[in-house]
Amino acid sequence: MNRISASALRAGALRGAIEFRNSMQRPSDLSFYLLGAISFGIALWFLRDQEIPDLGISVAVVVFPTAIAIIMLFVATYGLATLVSTEREDGTVLRLSILPAGTLTYPWGQTVRTLLELAFTFAVFTVIATVLVPNVWNQGWFGALTALGFLILGVFACLPLGFILGSIFNNPRSVGGWGFLVLGAIVYASGIIQPLTELPVWIQIIGQVLPLYWLGLGLRSALLPDGFVGAEFGESWRTLESLGVLGGWAIAGVILAPLLLQRVSRRDSFATLAQRRERALQRV
């Protein structure tokens, strides 16, 4: 089994790298990533002169971790779900499912691709933020490295949601509609736009089951001055809980992704695939 897993991981890494190269060569994909980074950059530009009176720090510094969390959710969940449903439609998932260890190779390849795309997007966004926002690295190297650690854990925690959405919706157009709504609801329930403490209790509960709240909390703990902890539950960054919930989602993803793909490929067949493709072409 070891040699088989090793070659599946190797094939998946190659797959992720090739997919990343392909999307960098496709203007629509490239602009999706650049647009995310640039539009949040513009938001930071407008906010950079507004200071929070008591703390003497720019609002843009506070928005920075929020923006990172939202970009993460959109690339790792929305982007992945769109890709999985597209590749269900064009037969990629089915093709992989009849290859030896293909149901391991596919999710691992998608994970590698997402990591590379996030690295690219965050590199662009971080440069923009560093140039535009004074004091954005107010917590120094330690804060930046902690944030990086949370980001890496956060990717693995957000990917399962992408696989789940991608296997619920069998075509990318539904992901564009319903998936977008689901993500908007997740962002709302995760205390990203406004503090979770100000929302109704039942939303607080849902928010704290999902990974995005904990990713946002972890990033705030790494990048904001200690004074901000007052806006959080129990006036604590709850670092251990953050690591626990995010780690839980990451482990769930490792177990869930291959199973979801097997289920999906069992439901899709070549006949239904051909029908769906025809319908898709008619719409175009």
């Binding site: 088989i4 070659s7 037969g91 990629t92 093709r95 030896p100 067949s269 070549f270």
Partner: protein, 298 residues
């Protein structure tokens, strides 16, 4: 090389889609090193049969064994022994030809000995895509894409190969090379091959055995010669006497023609035509669809 080892076995295989019966009690056996062609009209259940054997579909009832195992519960090792060429792939369009095949070859590497004659580049040459190795898959023509599909089916050096209409869009040259490749696989590697096709000449040339599937049943099972013989009047004799034309179907054309010429010196325009697989196929399908009709014409 044809052997007795059974690689694919179905017993009473039945498949319903809702109330529609697609397969109704199919028994199939394919041996190691045997090439079997599955013929039948559109909608006869050829693709469904192949998908069940690949473990992509669960049959309504009946026994299915591939290498002695139910393909629905196939292990990774088991999957690695089976090569698949399916109809109309549209995936991986932005990948380059060689890197795609290389990616797949990594997955099969743990199961196969390193063999230079089966390397990615050797295989691309074999299917005539050596000069397109760096092209994007989406830029290939229909026939080239089909040849890539064949290479994908072979990259794992399979012991069993399923091909669903593999030569669609092939030019005559590519078709002949494909036939040679299939013969080589069956003869030297004892690969069992099950293919579906609409090209009857191809079935006749490639297959040790032909199965005709129609209306959910196996309408015929045997070599091209067996099938021709089982249709009464396998040979058609036409001739003219003065202005009258005659046609007669017979099993034994030689005796018939000898008697005809001895009996009537006025015979001209004599023409003896052995029935083609196409004639046989059409008769078989017609007989399965409507037995009484065929009885009368005989």
């Amino acid at each position: 090389m044809l052997t007795d080892e059974v690689v694919v076995r179905t017993r009473d295989l039945t498949m319903h889609y809702g109330s529609k019966v697609v397969l109704d009690g199919i028994d199939i056996e394919v041996h190691r090193g045997e090439v079997v062609a599955l013929l039948g009209p559109n909608g006869a259940g050829k693709t469904t049969t192949i998908e069940i054997l690949e473990g992509l579909r669960s049959p309504t009832s009946g026994l299915v064994e591939v290498f002695g195992i139910n393909p629905l519960h196939a292990s990774i090792e088991h999957r690695a022994r089976v090569g698949v060429v399916l109809q109309s792939w549209r995936d991986h369009g932005r990948w380059r030809v060689r890197e795609f095949l290389h990616h797949l070859s990594i997955l099969y590497a743990p199961f196969r000995a390193d063999d230079a004659t089966w390397s990615v580049d050797a295989l691309l040459e074999r299917v005539g895509l050596g000069d397109r190795a760096r092209s994007r898959i989406a830029s290939l023509s229909g026939g080239q894409r089909r040849r890539l599909d064949v290479a994908v089916g072979l990259i794992g050096q399979p012991d069993l190969l399923f091909l669903d209409e593999p030569t669609t869009g092939f030019d005559p040259h590519a078709r002949r090379e494909f036939h040679e490749l299939m013969h080589e696989l069956a003869d030297t590697r004892s690969t069992a091959i099950l293919l579906t096709t609409h090209d009857l000449a191809e079935a006749e040339r490639l297959a040790d055995r032909i199965l005709i599937l129609d209306g959910g049943h196996i309408a015929a099972n045997g070599s091209a010669d067996d099938l021709a013989r089982s249709v009464a009047g396998a040979t058609e004799v036409r001739w003219r006497v003065a202005d009258d034309r005659f046609v007669h179907s017979t099993d034994d054309a030689t005796t018939f023609v000898r008697d005809l010429l001895v009996g009537d010196p006025g015979v001209t325009d004599l023409e003896v035509r052995r029935s083609t697989l196409e004639d046989t196929y059409l008769t078989m399908v017609a007989r399965a669809a409507n037995p009484t009709f065929v009885e009368e014409t005989q």
